[in-house]
Symmetry: D2
Subunit: 102 residues, 4 copies
């Protein structure tokens, strides 16, 4: 993860994109990429969306990549690691939605 | 990452959420969580969004966690790892947007 | 419609919100309101979403109102009327997706 | 407005799109169209977004049209009129955010 953050930092720097990469702009870009993922599933039935062909799966992989890239760059602006944030949030969710006793 | 995917799988199973967790529904939930991140920045100026106070940073960390959770669960339905997808997508982006020669 | 645009202009002016109401910010706010509408349907089955109770319908009406408000304010910044834009777009769509011959 | 709703109903019926037009799917499509509007502004500064060239304004008009079309179709599934919903919501907002006394 730290590795990806470092690569993305270099990638943006080499292209002089930092002035555009304010957190506000990165959040907008993240929402645009998320919509591209949503678009793939918009006319499918729920069960149908579980069974996609190879070309759709490849498309999903690319859009997941884009969402992950923008999420990582946004988090990096605040020295946050998305994996750690997910872990922390799961602890809060475990309290909010306790699992039923067996 | 594999660790997080495994934990999320168990978390959903213990709460019997799998029937609701179709890729279509997870994509919708991802877009809703992304909007909660967007909401934090919606009335800020670009530069202003780089300097947030501690309480806002904590809020950002929670929403980044939620986005990461839904992205990971969605990717997992297709045996995809978001970190690998980001790596692959960066290679494609490097071709699409070549860095200027020094 | 012109009536609504006029009322929204006065509403924002009375609260001195114009400096915040750049098209960029209004587009972000629109995406946040849209997500609040999406959230209502995120865990429902397709058919289930056709049959909602009175309290959900009331909630939908409020969120439709919010989306319409931000869409109208955004369009107004460019002297556009959403109803006319929809009409124009339908003409383009009729060419793009011709109805099958009877 | 009623006119537009009637035209959209006929347009969808002539193409046999009604089975796909569940409220859930229309909400997803609305969020995708909203993102296409957001995309136009994502790398602009706030003030810059107030001054767009003719070709961008044309692009905005088309995306506003698409958002209005899906919002209208979604509202129609619940016998709601987006203009009335916006009016009602403004009354609630006037209470929530009272204008400062002169």
């Amino acid at each position: 993860m730290e590795n990806l953050q470092e690569s993305l930092r270099k990638f943006a720097a080499a292209r002089e994109w930092q002035p555009f990469h304010t957190p506000k702009n990165l959040a907008m870009a993240l929402s645009v990429e998320t919509a591209e993922l949503t678009e793939i599933f918009q006319w499918m039935e729920g069960e149908e969306s579980r069974r996609v062909d190879d070309s759709t799966r490849k498309h999903i992989a690319e859009e997941v990549g884009d969402v992950m890239i923008y999420l990582t760059m946004l988090a990096d602006k605040f020295d946050l690691n998305p994996l750690h944030c997910a872990r922390e949030k799961m602890l809060l969710n475990a309290v909010k939605y306790p699992a039923p006793k067996p």
